[in-house]
Structure formats: structure tokens, C-alpha cells
């Protein structure tokens, strides 16, 4: 007599799969619909940025940083140029500092809008997706009118910014900030407040604070696990110590809190931008920097709070115009490590939702 037996289903999700946020791949073992093992595989978008950096001059590498977390490119620029400036001991004009903050926080809002959109989309909330992209469009328009490009903005330079925003930038920014509360209310209505959303996300994918710390998780994922840690407060870079804002922390450790935390962060970012708009001085946006940038011999590790997690650059300079070693510490690359641990035992649909809460951008993961 034949013995009936069940078999685990090994499913290769990605690199071409609708909800793998690009070319992430994981080999998942299922017992029915229940996840028993996950092996993440990365590298399908690996471009060898760290190697490329060694044959580029310092300013030449700025456009490459746009391609890291391409949903928040000004923030990557910021991290990189500040690292080089720290290495050189360069002071940049006040106005440039303020503009950098404005652009970085706008990028954070844009990135979080895409997060909410893709989060909604990964649990099939199509309409919430459209709303978020509709509103993100306005930020991209602001980027476009300043830098000429929308996604890979490439706006920062070593010593300042590529240029002054045009006059129509300021009314656009103001009207966007004025409309923001209404937008957030709308997202809440269509997405966060929905019973199905809450049933799908609440209590799912628990990442305890201890585990998060042990896994070197950073960014909103860490803060949703109850850790009050934000580089903007812990080690303020640029002029972030001048602004009055809170670090949103949530204690649910689940997918829902990770999702909701992004909404809180948008509110805080808007606060920062308003203060920056109020205080911004007149002046030039570019410091005097020599044509050939040769930082002194030394090494520096500088980190910023990227929307996805902590983005750090570690540069070892040998005094030449090209870095001897440039290391990119990208947030989501490390955050992804939680997936095989946290998503075990949940359903296939939860796996997709938990992965979505990581807000992985493969440009950053694969470097």
C-alpha cells in the first residue's frame, strides 16, 4: 500500500516576481501556505559601486550615490558629500545646509510615500498606491524644477549644492506642506484604518527589540521595535541639532507599527521642513572648493538617517584625488537579515507583507 506523505514546496520567489521590489530573490520553503525556511539571495543588481569608486574622483562618485536608494537620492548625496566634507574639514554655507535639510527631508517624505504605496500594493490596496504616487509627484516636480531630474536628483556637491532652487519652488513647497495633513488623513482612511489592512498587519512578523539590536537593524524598522534611536538625534549631522522634532517610536514590533511609523515620520519631516523654511538665511549655496578635491590622508565613517535605515560611508583616503577605499553601509542590506528569522511560521501572504515593511530598495541592497 502506498504511504501518503506530504512534501515541502520549494518556491523560488524572484528575481522576477511582482512583489520583490526589484530583483530581490528568496528561496522559500512552504508547508502548504506556511513558511518553513527562507533563504534570501541578493546581488542581481550588484554594480560594484565600491570598486567603481576607487577609480573615480570624489566629485565623480556623487551621481553613483543617487543609484543607491533611488527613492531618496538627495539623502544618499547628502551622506556622501558630508562624509567627504568631514574628511576635508570643509565648512559649507548656512543656506546650503538649510537647503540640504529641506531636500533630504523632502526625499524622506517621497520615499515614505512610496513605502506606503508599495506596502498597500503588496496587500493589494491598489487605490492607496495611486493616492501616494499622486502626492509624491508633487515632490518630484519640486526636484525637477531645482535639479532638472526627478528620480536621480544629484543635487548636492562637495561644498554645497548644485544650485539655488527657482522662485516657484517655495510656493510649491508651501502648498505641499499645507496639503500634507489632508493627504495623510486620506491614506489613513483608505489604508491604515481599513479592517482588512489591520487584520493583515497587526501582530504579524514580531521583531523584538533585542533581536533587532543583535541583527544591527536600523531605521524605522528598529524604531517600530521600541528603540528610540535616530542618527539625527544620536549623532546629529549637518544642522539637524537646530531643529525641534521628535523621533517617532512605536512598541508593537509588528508589521502594522512598522507601517504606521512611516506616517509618523512624514509628519516629523514636514515639521523640520517648516522650521528650515522659516530660518533659512540668504547667501551663497556653494563653498569655495578647489577644482581638484584631495582630502588629507585619513579615514572617516559618517552616517546619516536614510529613510530606509542608517546609510554610512566609510572612506579611507590616501591623499590622492580618488578614494583608496569607499565602503557603503546600506540600511536595507542589513535589515533584510531579519526576514528569514521573523517571517518563519507565517503564511505566504504575511511573508510578502513582512518583506514590504522592510521597504527594501534593491539599488541599496545590492550596491
Amino acid at each position: 500500500m502506498a504511504v501518503e506523505r506530504t512534501e515541502e514546496l520549494t518556491l523560488n520567489m524572484g528575481p522576477q516576481h511582482p512583489s520583490m521590489h526589484g530583483v530581490f530573490r528568496m528561496v522559500v520553503h512552504f508547508d502548504g501556505e506556511i513558511v518553513t525556511k527562507i533563504e534570501p539571495k541578493v546581488g542581481y543588481l550588484h554594480r560594484g559601486l565600491e570598486k567603481l569608486a576607487e577609480s573615480r574622483t570624489y566629485p565623480q562618485f556623487i551621481p553613483y550615490t543617487d543609484r543607491l536608494d533611488y527613492l531618496a537620492s538627495p539623502h544618499n548625496n547628502l551622506a556622501y558629500v558630508q562624509t567627504v566634507e568631514k574628511l576635508m574639514g570643509l565648512q559649507i554655507p548656512e543656506r546650503a545646509e538649510y537647503l540640504r535639510v529641506i531636500f533630504a527631508e523632502l526625499a524622506r517624505i517621497a520615499s515614505h510615500l512610496v513605502f506606503i504605496a508599495s506596502m498597500a500594493l503588496d496587500i493589494a490596496g491598489w487605490t492607496a498606491w495611486a493616492y501616494c504616487f499622486r502626492d509624491r509627484e508633487r515632490i518630484l516636480d519640486m526636484f525637477e524644477m531645482t535639479a532638472g531630474s526627478r528620480l536621480t536628483v544629484n543635487i548636492m556637491r562637495i561644498g554645497g549644492l548644485s544650485g539655488e532652487p527657482p522662485t516657484e519652488f517655495w510656493p510649491a513647497l508651501k502648498s505641499f506642506l499645507d496639503d500634507l495633513p489632508e493627504m495623510l488623513e486620506e491614506y489613513f482612511g483608505i489604508f491604515y484604518g481599513n479592517e482588512i489592512t489591520q487584520a493583515r498587519l497587526k501582530g504579524i512578523g514580531i521583531l523584538s527589540k533585542e533581536l533587532a539590536e543583535n541583527l544591527s537593524i536600523t531605521g524605522p524598522v528598529l524604531r517600530a521595535s521600541g528603540a528610540n534611536y535616530d542618527v539625527r538625534k544620536a549623532e546629529p549631522y549637518g544642522i539637524y541639532d537646530r531643529f525641534d522634532f521628535n523621533v517617532p517610536v512605536r512598541y508593537g514590533c509588528d508589521s502594522y507599527d512598522r507601517t504606521l511609523l512611516r506616517l509618523d515620520e512624514i509628519i516629523e519631516s514636514a515639521k523640520i521642513i517648516r522650521q528650515a523654511m522659516r530660518d533659512i538665511p540668504e547667501g551663497s549655496v556653494m563653498a569655495k572648493v578647489s577644482k581638484i578635491i584631495k582630502p588629507p590622508v585619513g579615514e572617516v565613517y559618517h552616517r546619516v538617517e536614510n529613510p530606509k535605515g542608517e546609510l554610512g560611508f566609510y572612506i579611507v583616503s590616501d591623499g590622492s584625488p580618488k578614494p583608496a577605499r569607499l565602503r557603503i553601509r546600506s540600511g536595507t542590506f542589513i535589515n533584510i537579515q531579519m526576514l528569514p528569522i521573523v517571517a518563519l511560521g507565517w503564511k505566504m501572504q504575511d511573508l510578502i507583507a513582512i518583506f514590504a515593511t522592510l521597504d527594501a530598495v534593491l539599488g541599496e541592497v545590492d550596491k
Binding site: E50, S55, I217
Partner: protein, 163 residues
């Protein structure tokens, strides 16, 4: 005693214990030790009284020509302390202990360092290439890695089913 001095004191104590040297670069303390002492060093740094450097930010390697340095960026979620630990690894026989037992988060980072520099992390649960494919030859971020032009490069990626 300010935070900085206290950290300096702790690092000095640790340095004498593990036979390392302390430097300062742009305001950040660096502790350079032999690769063999790395676990002891990091365990010590993690358990500094009052100011533990218990959060691993980054782990990477640097090729310095005659030897490698494995660089650990440490800090804490509960204080301003920042410490950079460097483990010196021999170039001919690049082996160092894995810190995955201290920080699970080092898993991918060590795999990446292995992928790019060929440094073997002893005790790593799954030390395989992470970005490049398993059959890739050479370690790209080593300074002696020769980058071919596009024309010379004949990349053939074997298709493996079930990998």
C-alpha cells in the same frame, strides 16, 4: 569624567589586555588589534562597563597592500560612544574569527567581506559569496584584482536549478 575620557580609559584598558594600539582619527577612537584577538576585543568592547559599544554598525575590510584590515564600526543605542575596531589579517592566509556569535547581523556583512576580499571568517554559519555567483574567480575589492575591459570579459553564468 566626560564620556570621551571614560571611553578612552576603557579602550586603553582593553588595548593593554589584547595587545592593541589606540589611535584617534577625526575624533573617533580606533583600536587596532591582531586578527587573533578580535573576538576577545569585540566581546570586551561590547561589555564595557557603563558605556558598552554593543551595536555593530558596519563590518568591512580594507586592503592595505601588505595586509588586510577588518573594520568594525561600533556604537550603542544607549549612548554617544563610538568606537572603530580593526583586526589585522594576514594577506597570504586571510582568516579571522566570525563575530556572528556576538552579532547575528554580521552574517551578511561577513559574507560580503568574504565575497569582495576573500577573508575567511571562521565559524560563520554560511560563508558563501553573497553578491557574486559562486563560480566567480578572484576577489574584486583587493587592490591586485585586475579589472578587464568589457570586451575581454566573457562572463558565463551557469544556470543552476534549485539553487
Amino acid at each position: 569624567m566626560g564620556n570621551k575620557e571614560m571611553l578612552r580609559k576603557r579602550v586603553d584598558e582593553l588595548a593593554t589586555k589584547v595587545n592593541g594600539e589606540v589611535e584617534e582619527s577625526l575624533g573617533v577612537l580606533m583600536l587596532k588589534v591582531k586578527g587573533a584577538y578580535i573576538i576577545e576585543t569585540l566581546n570586551g568592547a561590547k561589555n564595557f562597563p557603563e558605556m558598552p559599544c554593543d551595536f555593530l554598525h558596519d563590518l568591512t575590510a580594507v586592503d592595505l597592500g601588505n595586509h588586510f584590515e577588518v573594520v568594525y564600526q561600533l556604537s550603542s543605542l544607549r549612548g554617544p560612544q563610538i568606537l572603530r575596531v580593526k583586526g589585522i589579517v594576514d594577506r597570504e592566509n586571510p582568516v579571522i574569527d566570525s563575530v556572528t556569535r556576538i552579532w547575528q547581523g554580521a552574517n551578511f556583512l561577513e559574507r560580503e567581506a568574504y565575497d569582495m576580499f576573500g577573508i575567511e571568517f571562521k565559524g560563520h554559519p554560511n560563508l558563501r559569496r553573497i553578491y557574486l555567483w559562486d563560480e566567480f574567480e578572484g576577489y574584486p575589492l583587493r587592490k591586485d584584482y585586475a579589472t578587464e575591459s568589457v570586451e575581454q570579459r566573457a562572463v558565463v553564468m551557469p544556470l543552476k536549478v534549485g539553487d
